[in-house]
Homo-oligomer: 457 residues x 2
């Protein structure tokens, strides 16, 4: 019910300068950008992916169904060379998952197994909790010190607009379980890597390096982590019983879905715009990352329909990102010989773009200036750091391809990230359209730029 | 992390008039009220109930543990005549609950069984969905028309400050399942009675009258209800599979915990301040209704510690409210002969009191005026409707006892009501203290009022 109000507020925010008063922006770019503020493609794609396909866990039949749908849909939209490029994937899937405090304060705990978690015995695993306020506290334990007990690691992630705390606190999830295993813990619970206060745990992968046997590893919903902390503060031993029955299915298939807008000048190179089609299994992957796939495809469609661009635009809907960026790696291995000149990815929700970052050679400063001028009317300012690219294009950028980040507002992203709550109702259609407008303007400029585009001198 | 900001904002809102500038408020009442703005009792009680006891489903060992804790705690606080008055209770408990869309769009649905729901077969029940936008649409079906199918009833509950939509839309939950059974449906799904957009269904009781065999009945989380609507809009049959294994344990015990501040003048009658100690099983019953029990006990404690009041204050922590107001009825049957002169209940969360409603005889207008004057500095205005009392005191008020409602702000109450999310982190300590201040001021006035208190001429 609140959407019209947000739309009105956004419209007011997005266009502080009358468009007619702008200078330095190519008229065709401005027209494509402004028309995209009425875009319906991105909403239709986001709605269809989340509604008809639902959760799309990498390597499962649900992801395969999504790839089939994607090929059909991108073909129907008029893209060229649409195909699914499959690759093998070791596939882990969730089972039953329950947790409970035992004894005088017995009560259930809301939790979810981390990707690559080991299973408990079918009838459960019980142990005393050893609490660590941070990963550093866990690391300080001697090897073997936690034998027979369950480690519980909390942390202090807070809300930021740029999502920068994900690196600093996400390490608790990625590395904490292996460290706990090395200390002898029988299992580990972590406070979810998130900023909300709902009884919904945040899923996500963890990594057990070769030589470290996996242990059961789960994320507690944030209220449950706080509840466990309060029980521990009472000073008596706290015992928890866990039942987690995930399993590894063995090697299955994932795949990258690719579609193209062929350019008129093959020597001018390829612009790759990426997202990922797979999702975690608890929600329907709306902000992570159906909306990203919708944004890049809608923008490419709008450019395609406006006339053939100079450069080929390649849309990459990657597979198996969530479980370890396997799609991005497979794409890089298969296509590293292609003439990529630019890569960009939308994988941080569907809230408005607020910052432009580029990774260009100094000679491309005029191109960066044209991008900045075209995006400014959408409320987008230029950042001070080089673009880093999304996960699925990071290998390209690390190997010298130029990059653009259209940085989205992530203030509420980690309220929803990897939770059951990542559903369509969290996508604001007006902000989604602002994204499409930003990507359309960007593509209109880079696909037709007369100069060479490069990240290196 | 946001609590200090809310506290500052609330302090600014709560005290628009310098206290020294007030007139017409007894100085002792004002002092008790203002001291209660620093109250710690209510937070300590709310924290302990939600943390140490957790969910407190009526008739279960968890509720029995809570009653034992309540007797010990209220005794330790210095109350008199503390006791648990048990009563028998037919006890229904939740089992496994899963739901899934079948076929081309297969995906799980977040749902929870309604209290008194029948069970499905252990291996599930599958059927085609028949969608009804409102309860009236379901009622319009001929008897038997839904044979072998699953009814799905949605509705349009929206957010209000006074919670007044609960009556209008709660009927979908209370009466919808019995109507669907009469139409021949094999099961019913309803859109949760709530105002949030999270993947957490809202529990609550339904009623199957004598002569209507119970059917499986569950509430979908609101995003899941919207998802099902979108799938239905696509125009093809939608099939859902449900597994619900609730069961009736038979007759168990619940009970009302009672504590008193004995008055100096037994002929002046008893003031009852109530809440309920039982909770739904999905959350820890923080706003429903640990905080209510904390507010009334904290206020009574503050009055007790300030010197013996004229009237007896009786604290009623009722049992088995959620499953049918059984505690309130048992209390009325056991105590209808007692000399009650006033009843009030706190059972609408822990957000600030914004309105005073009274149900007094016309002769008690001066008393109403003194209450209004004492509460005004807390940002509380007088309403235009007579007090209706909370559920557990409604029988007293219906039988002629005077009543006071200290109406709480319910704007976000139905985001949390009966969900897993009803946990301690949703209670704002500053607003909780404003409640204690309002209840303390109210009790200071009514317990010592020299006049007769009555609802009738």
């Amino acid at each position: 019910m609140h959407k019209p109000l947000i739309a009105a507020a956004l419209a007011a925010l997005a266009l502080p300068v009358p468009l007619a008063a702008q200078t330095g922006v190519d008229e065709r770019v401005a027209e494509l950008r402004d028309a995209a503020l009425d875009d319906d493609y991105a909403w239709a794609i986001t709605e269809a992916i989340t509604t008809e396909l639902g959760p799309r866990m990498a390597g499962t039949p649900a992801e395969a169904r999504a790839r089939k749908w994607a090929v059909e849909t991108l073909t129907a939209m008029g893209f060229s060379n649409v195909r699914d490029e499959p690759f093998p994937l070791r596939t882990w899937v969730r089972g039953i998952e329950t947790g409970a405090v035992m004894g005088d304060h017995s009560q259930p705990l809301a939790l979810t197994a981390l990707g690559n978690s080991a299973a408990t015995p079918v009838d459960g695993l019980e142990g005393e909790i050893v609490y660590f306020p941070s990963l550093a506290d866990l690391q300080a334990e001697p090897d073997g010190a936690l034998r027979g007990r369950i480690a519980f690691v909390s942390h202090a992630m807070t809300r930021t607009q740029d999502g920068s705390q994900y690196g600093a606190y996400g390490i608790v999830r990625r590395a904490g379980p292996a460290i706990a295993a090395q200390k002898g813990a029988s299992a580990i619970l972590i406070r979810s890597i998130g900023t909300d206060s709902h009884r919904m745990p945040h899923a996500g992968s963890t990594v057990f390096p070769d030589g470290t046997d996996p242990i059961p590893a789960a994320a507690l919903a944030i209220p449950d982590a706080e509840q466990l902390e309060r029980l521990i503060e009472r000073g008596k031993p706290v015992r928890v019983r866990l039942i987690l029955t995930p399993r590894v299915l063995g090697t299955r298939s994932s795949g990258n879905v690719i579609a193209e807008v062929p350019g008129s000048d093959p020597s001018a190179g390829i612009v790759v715009v990426a997202c990922h089609l797979d999702s975690w299994d608890l929600g329907t992957g709306a902000i992570d990352d159906a909306s990203g796939c919708a944004i890049v495809a809608a923008a490419a469609k709008r450019i395609m329909d406006a006339g053939q661009p100079r450069r080929t635009i390649r849309v990459l809907w990657a597979g198996a990102e969530e479980v370890g960026i396997f799609g991005g790696r497979a794409y890089f291995e298969a296509h590293k010989g292609d003439n990529h000149v630019l890569a960009a990815e939308s994988d941080f929700g569907a809230d408005r773009v607020w910052r432009l970052d580029t990774r260009f050679a100094p000679a491309n400063q005029p191109l960066a200036d044209r991008l900045a001028a075209a995006l400014a009317p959408l409320g987008i300012a230029t950042g001070t750091q080089p673009a880093s690219g999304g996960a699925d294009v990071s290998a390209l950028i690390a190997n010298g391809v130029a990059g653009i980040d259209l940085q989205q507002d992530g203030t509420r992203y980690f309220d929803l990230h990897h939770t059951p709550d990542d559903t369509l109702d969290k996508v604001d259609p007006a902000q989604l359209r602002q994204n499409v407008a930003a990507w359309t303007a960007m593509l209109a400029i880079v696909a037709d730029a007369p100069e060479r585009i490069s990240a290196t001198k």
